[in-house]
C-alpha cells in the first residue's frame, strides 16, 4: 500500500471500524480525546518552556498564567481521566467477565469530561481566568485581577468533569456488584468486600487453609480502591466549586460577600485534602493496578506476593486520606503535629506502598524471563523507573527542614511532579495502550515499529531530562509559578526546553503512528454508532 492509501484506510487496511462493539468504540473515543488533550498539554508546556527562557512579547503575562492554570487541569482531567476512565470502563467488565453496568452512563462520562475540559480551557483562554489549580483562597474570587464571568464558565467546566467522574464511580461499583440479566444472583456484598480489600485484609490474619479465595482480580481491586478516592475528590472539588460560584454569581448580581468569611488556612487544608486524593491517592493506586494488569497479561502469571499487594492497596487508600499536610509544611500557622504526622510520617509510607508495588512487579516479570521486549514491556519499565525517580524526590521535599528551601521551587514541579506524571504515569498509560491496541481494534497492526521505538526513547530521555534540568534550577533557587524577566536561569531553561521538545516530537511520532495504523477513515469511524450489542465487549467469534 502506498502512503496515501495507508493514511486513508490504515496499515494494510486491517482496521475495520464497523467491526467494533459499542464498548470498543467508547474506549477508543476516550483514548483519542485523551491523546488530543495530551497534545494540548504538551503544546502549552512548550509555550511555557519558551516563556521561561524569554518572555514572549505577543503573549501577555495574563495569558501565560491562564495557560499555567489550564495546563495541569487539561493534562489530568482532559487527558489522564479520559484515558484511565475509558480503559477501566472496559477492563473492569473484561476482567469480571460480565457487561458494563451501564453503557449509557459510560457515554455520559465521556461527553462530560470532553465538554467540561473544553469549557474550562476556553474560558481560561478567552478570559485569562488564572487562579491556578490550587485556588488558594481568596484568589479565585479576586475580581480586581479576574473576570467573574470567565471564572463562572471555568468552574462550570470543572464541575462537568467532576459530574462525569461521579458517573464513572457509580458505573464501576455497580459493574463489580450487580447481577446481569438472566444470570444467577451474584454475591454483591462479598464482591464489594473483596474489591475494597476487606476480605484480603481478613486473609492476612488467617491460616492458609482458612483463607478465602479473592472474588475480584487484583487489578480490579486496585481500580475499586482508586475509585473511592475519585468519588471523594469529586465531592471536594464540586463543593469548593459551588462555594466559589456563590461568590462569583453574587458579584455579577451586584452583591459583595466578604471573602474573610472563609478561613484561608482551613480552606487550604480542605482543598489540599481533596487534591491529594488525586496526586497521592488515585494516581498511585490506579498506576499500581495498571502495573499489575499489564504484568499479568505480559507474563500470564499471578503477581508475586499478591495478598500483600492487595493489603498495600488498602494501606495506600488510607495513606491518601491522611497525607495532605506535606503541602503545608511552609505554612507557619499549620499545627506542628499535622506537619510531622501527616506531612512527614504518613507521606513516608508512600515510599513503602509504591516501593512494594515496584518490587513485586519486577519479581513477577523476572520470574517469567525470557520476555520479548515488546512496546508494552519497555513502556512498563519506563513507568516503573519514573516512579522510582519521582517518589523519593517527593519524600525528600516532604521534610520540614528541606521543604524550607524547596517549597514552590522548580524542584517540586520538575523531578517530582513532571517525572511522576510524564515518565511514571504517562509511560504506564502508553504501555496499556500498546497492550490493548490489538484487542480493542480487533487486530489492527501498528504502522511502524521504528516510530514506536523513537516514541519510547524520545519520551524517556525528554521527560527525565526536563525534570532534571528543572530540578537543578530549583536547587539554585528558581521558583515555579512566576516569570523571570532577566534570564536568571537561562542555561537550565534552555536545556529543559530542548528536553521538552523531545517530548513533543515523541508525542507527534506516536500520534502519527496511531493515525497511520487506523487510517483517517478508521479514526472517523470510531465516532460513528456501532450496530452491535452494547453489552458485548469484543465481537462474538463466528
Amino acid at each position: 500500500m502506498n502512503f496515501k492509501d495507508t493514511f486513508l484506510v490504515g496499515e494494510q487496511g486491517l482496521f475495520k471500524p464497523e467491526s467494533l462493539t459499542p464498548m470498543q468504540k467508547l474506549l477508543l473515543k476516550f483514548v483519542v480525546v485523551g491523546l488530543i488533550y495530551y497534545g494540548f498539554a504538551v503544546i502549552e508546556g512548550m509555550i511555557m518552556r519558551i516563556y521561561q527562557i524569554e518572555p514572549i512579547a505577543a503573549l501577555g503575562e495574563h495569558q501565560y498564567f491562564a495557560i499555567l492554570t489550564a495546563h495541569p487541569l487539561v493534562g489530568i482531567f482532559g487527558s489522564t481521566y479520559s484515558i484511565v476512565f475509558g480503559a477501566f470502563l472496559f477492563v473492569v467488565p473484561f476482567m469480571m467477565k460480565k457487561p458494563l453496568w451501564s453503557y449509557k452512563l459510560g457515554c455520559w462520562t465521556f461527553w462530560l469530561i470532553t465538554i467540561g475540559t473544553l469549557t474550562f480551557w476556553l474560558s481560561g483562554f478567552i478570559s485569562h481566568y488564572a487562579p491556578l489549580y490550587t485556588l488558594y483562597w481568596p484568589l479565585p474570587v479576586d475580581f480586581t485581577q479576574f473576570n467573574p464571568m470567565g471564572g463562572i464558565f471555568f468552574i462550570l467546566g470543572i464541575a462537568l468533569v467532576m459530574l462525569g467522574a461521579v458517573f464513572f464511580v457509580i458505573n464501576i461499583f455497580m459493574t463489580i456488584g450487580y447481577t446481569p440479566e438472566g444470570w444467577e444472583k451474584q454475591p454483591s456484598g462479598a464482591l464489594m468486600a473483596s474489591a475494597l480489600g476487606y476480605s484480603g485484609l481478613r486473609n492476612l490474619f488467617k491460616k492458609k487453609k482458612k483463607q478465602k479465595e479473592h472474588l475480584v482480580p487484583l487489578p480490579v481491586a486496585a481500580v475499586a480502591r482508586g475509585t473511592v478516592d475519585v468519588a471523594l475528590n469529586a465531592g471536594i472539588i464540586l463543593f469548593t466549586g459551588v462555594l466559589i460560584l456563590v461568590y462569583m454569581i453574587a458579584h455579577v448580581m451586584g452583591f459583595s460577600f466578604k471573602d474573610t468569611a472563609i478561613d484561608a488556612l482551613l480552606y487550604k487544608n480542605w482543598f489540599w485534602w481533596g487534591l491529594d486524593l488525586i496526586a497521592d491517592g488515585l494516581v498511585l493506586i490506579f498506576v499500581a493496578g495498571t502495573w499489575y494488569l499489564i504484568t499479568m497479561m505480559i507474563t500470564g502469571k499471578k503477581i508475586f506476593m499478591g495478598n500483600i499487594a492487595r493489603a498495600a492497596l488498602l494501606v495506600e487508600l488510607i495513606v491518601s486520606w491522611t497525607v495532605w499536610s506535606h503541602h503545608l509544611l511552609s505554612d507557619q500557622a499549620q499545627p506542628a503535629v499535622l506537619k510531622i504526622v501527616s506531612g512527614e510520617m504518613v507521606t513516608a509510607f508512600e515510599l513503602i506502598t509504591q516501593g512494594l508495588a515496584f518490587f513485586v512487579v519486577l519479581v513477577t516479570l523476572w520470574s517469567a524471563r525470557p520476555l520479548k521486549m515488546t512496546n508494552e514491556l519497555k513502556f512498563l519499565l519506563g513507568g516503573l523507573l519514573g516512579f522510582a525517580l519521582a517518589v523519593p524526590a517527593g519524600i525528600m521535599q516532604a521534610d520540614i527542614g528541606l521543604n524550607r528551601i524547596l517549597h514552590n521551587t522548580q524542584w517540586i514541579i520538575g523531578p517530582h511532579v513532571h517525572v511522576a506524571i510524564l515518565i511514571g504515569l504517562t509511560m504506564t498509560l502508553y504501555s496499556a495502550i500498546y497492550l490493548l491496541f490489538p484487542i480493542v481494534t480487533n487486530g489492527a497492526k501498528l504502522y511502524s515499529q521504528k516510530l514506536a521505538n523513537f516514541h519510547f526513547w524520545a519520551h524517556l530521555i525528554g521527560g527525565i531530562g526536563m525534570g532534571a534540568f528543572m530540578g537543578m534550577a530549583g536547587l539554585e533557587g528558581m521558583l515555579r509559578r512566576t516569570i523571570y524577566f532577566n534570564g536568571e536561569f537561562d542555561l537550565y531553561m534552555i536545556l529543559a526546553g530542548l528536553s521538552g521538545s523531545l517530548l513533543l516530537f515523541a508525542f507527534l511520532a506516536f500520534f502519527f503512528n496511531i493515525v497511520m495504523s487506523l487510517g483517517l477513515f478508521g479514526v472517523i469511524g470510531i465516532f460513528t454508532p456501532s450496530k452491535l450489542d452494547s453489552k458485548l465487549l469484543v465481537p462474538e467469534e463466528k
Binding site: F65, P131, S330, V363, L402, R404
Partner: protein
Amino acid sequence: MVDTQLVLWGQTIAYSSYAIVIILLMSWFGYNVSKPGKAGLVKPAIFYTFVGFLTVLGVSLHIVTYNTIPWTAIDLNRDDIQADKTFYITVENHEFKLPSEKLRIKVGEKVVFDVTSNDLTYGFGLFRKDNSMLMQMQVVPGHRNDIMWEFVQPGTYTIRSTEYSGPKGTRMILPDVVEVTN
C-alpha cells in the same frame, strides 16, 4: 556552620547518586529480562527485608534532618526561643510594607519575620544575590505567619514573594533590603 547551600549540595549529591543507580539498575533489568536464563524464585524473606529497608529509610530521613539541619528544630520550637529581633511586615495589594527601608541584622542573631497579609495568600522568601534561596514561608491571610531564622553568614538578601497571588505577584521583589553584617 550548616547553611542552606551546604544542605542543598548534600541533597544534590544524594539524589543524583540515587538517580544514576536506579537508572543503571533498570537498564540492567531491561537488558536481562529479555535474555534466556534461569528465572529463580525470590524468597519472601527478601521481599520483607526490602519493605523493612524502605520503612527505616522513610523514617530515618526525618530523624537525620531534624538533627543536622539547624533551622528545623528552631522552627518547631520557635515559640520557646527568645528572638533577638522581630520585624513586623505587612503585605497588601501585592506590596510588602517593611518597618524600615532596610532590615539590618547581625550575624548570629535569631530574628523573627512576622508577616501579615491583609488580602491574598502570598509567600515570603529571602534570596541571595545569585538568586539562590535562603528560606521561605507561606503568608496566609487571617493567620500569624512567623519564621525564626538564625543568620550564620554576612550578606545582602532580596525579599521576594514565593507564592502565586495572581499575575501582579510576579513583581513582588524588594532587592537587597536585608543586610546581615558581622
